[in-house]
Symmetry: C2
Subunit: 317 residues, 2 copies
């Protein structure tokens, strides 16, 4: 089983409105509600790949119960530790021209509540093939939370994939996970703007590996760093070398969902023990297929198969 840790899950509500009347009353044409938060996208992608998965996290209140129901309806196994606060909603209004999002804050989590989560986590690690730690931390949890969970996993010989941002990412990397998967924005926030242009240069130039390596140095401790570059694919710095993977056709669409699909594919490849070039082909193809789908955490199998043949993976020296 792959454990997916989602400490700050969400219920994603999306309203499609023909033309928003700002300041007025709108009656949305369609309403979609689904489990959200990066970890739940990862779990749904793994589940769709046929991988045995278990979501562990924190959930509370009306919305927490809603997240649990929504996962149950999708047959994704989950065990949430209850918290007194209210799980957050993300609310998105989509009209023809744009998306306006409202992100509620997550519930404040107490030490006792988190201690309850850790007990369940330690038990679940027994026999787990890998753990994916994904998304933001709710209020009340320290920046070192993921680092601690990675160390606990390492003590149980379970490799970890980390996908988060900021200080939680830097400290998590230092705990030695198998893979960290920042996107370009997250890496730039840690390593400065020079990292962006080095990692995602104009189409006719190769990535500037010296600067990229310096940027990746901000994630010292991680055994491999895979940076998602949006439409430009992936760049991976691993113990076995550096690779770049790209879809030959332009990829546009849902960037958040695509990054979560890449994290899922990397965990999947890790568990299967595949060589890095294969892992990256799988990850880039799954990311492209998910970006093309209207909803994060979902992809069409045919899009994935098509993308697999359209991905180039090249070693970068």
């Amino acid at each position: 089983v792959i454990i997916v840790v989602c400490l700050n899950p969400a219920l994603d509500v999306t309203h499609h409105v023909d033309a928003v009347d700002w300041g007025g009353v709108n009656r949305p044409r369609t309403v979609r509600t689904r489990p959200g938060g990066k970890g739940l996208n990862v779990a749904r992608t793994l589940h769709a790949l046929g991988v045995d998965v278990l979501v562990l996290g924190l959930a509370g209140g009306i919305t927490g119960a809603g997240v649990e129901t929504a996962l149950r309806e999708r047959c994704v196994p989950a065990a949430f530790t209850p918290v007194g606060g209210e799980t957050r909603r993300t609310f998105s209004v989509v009209d023809d021209s744009r998306v306006t999002a409202f992100y509620e804050p997550g519930p404040a989590v107490s030490e006792e509540e988190f201690a309850g989560f850790r007990r369940g986590y330690e038990q679940a690690l027994d026999g787990a093939a890998a753990v994916v730690l994904s998304g933001s931390l709710p209020p009340g949890l320290a920046d070192g939370t993921y680092a601690t969970l990675i160390e606990t996993a390492a003590a149980a010989a379970v490799p970890a994939v980390l996908d988060t941002h900021g200080e939680a990412l830097r400290r998590g990397a230092a705990a030695g996970p198998a893979i960290v998967k920042p996107n370009l924005t997250e890496l730039t926030a840690l390593a400065g703007p020079a990292a962006s242009s080095a990692l995602a240069p104009p189409a006719d130039r190769a990535p500037d590996l010296a600067t990229a390596a310096a940027a990746a140095g901000q994630l010292r401790g991680a055994q491999a760093v895979v940076v998602t570059l949006g439409p430009d694919g992936l760049l991976a710095a691993t113990g076995d070398g550096c690779w770049r993977a790209r879809a030959t056709a332009a990829v546009t669409g849902n960037a958040t969902g695509a990054g979560d699909a890449v994290a899922a594919a990397l965990a999947h490849g890790l568990v299967l023990g595949r060589p890095w070039d294969e892992r990256l082909r799988h990850a880039a193809a799954l990311g492209a297929a998910t970006a093309a789908a209207p909803v994060a955490g979902e992809f069409r199998r045919q899009d994935y198969l098509d993308a697999l043949t359209a991905v180039t993976v090249e070693e970068v020296r």
Copy 2:
């Protein structure tokens, strides 16, 4: 006990945002979730007045469970008949200058589901003092639904108060409820624009009762018609005569909540058997106190007591 029928309840979610970034990502300063829909406002007002109340209605899905939880937290007794569809949310974004609302559609209700509701309703009528039927009908229920429920109540000798709009209001009135309580917009929609100016003339002129009577004729069958005029108070046409009730100080604020408070007060006065002028004083004061409160279904007791002395009730001939 007063039964409050709420066939299309809602979970009201309000985000307060300092300055909305339309097309961007917003992180609301405060998030409030509460039971919504006109019937639930009526029930909460009656509960706050110390009246024994029972909410009956239809609820489904994640949001339906949320409505039930939110009522339980507020100690308002409720028995919802489950439906397969998803109870609606109303989502409001409040910034410094305006309110933008998104109203989800209610769940489609099947004949079998409504038959289940009716069985519970008929049982609950035994021993009830009155029934309030309030708000919109969810998709799938016919315009004659309230009329049928009023006839069922009459057969059990339980008087009914009806607060809805459109054809459901017109047909409900024809079934002979004790009171119908349209607002000016709802009455104008049925009776045409002349009704508005007749019922809410400039401050220096009396209501044009001939036109008002013609407008009220659209609600033929009702034993009394009470029209809420917003800041201008109430106008009542009853078997005992016509009255106008107004707060002497200007009332502004939450018009929806105020109308629901008026419906609650009218049901309360009906059950207590108070004369019409007293009922209207109570209703106008409760409406004013509720309009002044930030949240529909709530009022400060002192605001209500202050408003009671500031309401004038005059017979109109």
